[in-house]
């Protein structure tokens, strides 16, 4: 990459010969890069709108947004960790305990609700559960100095184990006024969960993208040494990101209890889709870095794929494969465009 950059000044003649050419080409490439993933998104939406019956109906779009709430909240939590830890998949920020966190928080909520405690207590307990898990991650990464990938993997196993002990691997049904309100439909038949996702993303997005704290998170993630030299509290910011992620896990747990009318087993299966969603989110940002808005778009993108395939009545045995191929196409197209621009 640097070699190409070094070569550019060596051809000033070419630039003079066609002054508008490369500039225009560069602009187009940059535009394509910025818009490429959005165009791909729009094309897929258009294809579904034309071919899949009911796709554009308000009820169906509402369903997609509502179904995106739980993976969306988890992916937003992971995005905060990705921002603060840097997006290197192996050594950078990652929180593998998120899905298990959601499972345990949901189990705590459902257990308390079944034992007759009110929504207030259950909500507090679920968020506290998530927060504690986040704090343990933060301790393991910041104080003990373990690579996030390993630290959160270990915490994931511990959390999943506690959930097994608490639930005995059974479904715990729960119905409370708050849960019923969350699983109902709001105006125009749009699920309340969908509205929750939008409001949640707006709030977190505002904090991460538009406040000094958010900017510091990016600084710490992309260049920790520079951050430290500039006097930023690197360790505190990193620890804070893990706690925030843990709280997102607890919040997703509450949403999950409302969606499934209780806590159920198998929350761990959510992990890989959430990791894919959060990593894919970078593709939907202008500078190809993790952003809250990009993660929301990526969550909706994955949700629309799943929904569109069901509407098109594609055999359930094919859906996973086709989904993977489409995601691969979007990511590689954007990566190629990025290289071209460079």
């Amino acid at each position: 990459m640097s070699v190409e950059l070094d070569l550019t000044p060596l051809s000033p003649l070419g630039q003079e010969a066609t002054p508008a050419g490369p500039a225009l080409g560069g602009q187009i490439a940059a535009l394509a890069l910025r818009a490429g993933s959005l165009i791909a998104f729009a094309v897929i939406v258009a294809v579904f709108a034309i071919t899949a019956p009911y796709f554009l109906s308000v009820g169906n779009i509402g369903n997609v947004v509502g179904q995106s709430a739980i993976p969306g909240v988890l992916a937003v939590g992971l995005t905060i960790v990705l921002i603060a830890g840097g997006s290197n998949v192996v050594t950078g920020g990652i929180d593998l305990s998120l899905a298990a966190n959601m499972g345990l928080s949901a189990a705590v909520y459902a257990t308390l609700a079944q034992a007759g405690y009110g929504d207030g207590t259950a909500v507090a307990a679920a968020l506290l559960t998530g927060g504690i898990i986040g704090a343990v991650n933060a301790f393991a990464v910041v104080v003990a100095g373990i690579v996030p990938l390993l630290a959160t993997l270990a915490v994931m196993n511990v959390v999943a184990g506690i959930e097994l002990v608490l639930t005995q691997n059974t479904v715990i049904p729960a119905t409370t006024p708050l849960l019923s309100a969350l699983s109902s439909s709001g105006p125009l038949g749009i699920p309340v969960l969908g509205l929750v996702l939008v409001v949640f993303t707006l709030i977190v997005g505002a904090i991460v993208q538009f406040t000094p704290t958010g900017l510091r998170l990016y600084a710490v993630g992309e260049f920790p040494e520079a951050g430290r030299a500039a006097g930023l509290p690197v360790r505190r910011l990193t620890a804070g990101a893990f706690v925030a992620s843990g709280l997102c896990g607890g919040f997703a747990g509450i949403l999950s209890v409302s969606n499934l009318s209780g806590s159920t087993t198998g929350s761990g299966e959510m992990l890989l889709p959430v990791v894919v969603t959060a990593l894919l989110g970078a593709v939907f940002s202008r500078r190809l870095v993790p952003t809250i808005g990009g993660t929301l778009l990526s969550t909706l993108f994955v949700g629309i794929l799943v929904n569109g395939f069901q509407l098109l009545n594609i055999s359930s045995t094919l859906v996973n494969g086709v989904q993977g191929i489409l995601i691969l196409l979007v990511v590689s197209a954007t990566t190629l465009l990025r290289k071209k621009e460079a």
Binding site: P53, Y54, S57, G59, N60, N63, G66, Q67, I70, V171, P173, S183, S256, N259, L260, S261, G262, T264, T265, G266, E269, M270, V306, N307, Q310, L311, N313, S315, S316, T317
Partner: protein, 335 residues
Amino acid sequence: MIDTWMAALGRRDILKFTAAAGATLTAASLLGPSIASASGALSLKGKRIGISATGTDHFFDLQAYNAQIEEVKRLGGEPIAVDAGRNDGKLVSQLQTLIAQRPDAIVQILGTLSVIDPWLKKARDAGIPVLTVDVGSTNSINNTTSDNWGIGKDLALQLVSDIGGEGNIVVFNGFYGVTPCAIRYDQLVNVVKYFPKVKILEPELRDVIPNTVQDAFTQITALLNKYPEKGSIKAIWSAWDIPQLGATQALAAAGRTEIRTYGVDGSPEVLQLVADPASPAGADVAQQPAEIGRTAIQNVARLLSGETLPRETYVPALLANKANVAEVTKKLGIG
């Protein structure tokens, strides 16, 4: 009167009785396909039928799911089939999308009731008829399932017949809380009541999940040490066939192959043991998942043509014993 009847009820009579029961069963199973062909009048032409499976990783649900898709196509309809891969979140999302697709009916295969019921209710509220396979719900118009009373009775009669109407039997009764298991156990008790020389040994054994096979093996091995004399135990009964698998292995290992084992579900590995003349596995009642799937779809067609459906439709199960196991496995398509 009853006493004289009991006295007259020797081994040969029991055998005749069972033979008659077996003949009825065979007739019923032969009738299966002919009912299907007689329902040629049924049609789903132009109808879109939602099929929602909790998962397709078990023999039962895979067979039921595929048979449903085929049956909708055979009747001229369009299946919208989704498989949640045993993930409740996915199951709920798929049901939500299915409701938005406004099919002419939805058939739900299995599922945890507390998870699916709110969405089955939403489907019903949206005017979409809901039918179920092997899961009873107040929001379902009809549930197609196996007749567990029939299963329990057939298995008990086979057992009593095989041991000549007398002797001690060991039972695994760890899941009386699960309705189908309770029905099967109650039917065993009902049958044994009329054979005073048959005794259920106390204490009853408790089968467990997981490690069912290993645990049954250990429990039976210990019990055989307690009853070392041949003939002191005639048979071992369990409400499903995984404890039966462990028990059968324990009998073979201890060389006590004079004892026979009995169970329910038609797991392919147990049916293989039943087919082995040297194995102590006596009988296994197999459900007909594919037939259950087809029947559920035929019920949809009946409903959409204006017929009223019963709350539950029972599909006969097939008792596989040493004599007919080849035939049964062939019919189940696992031979």
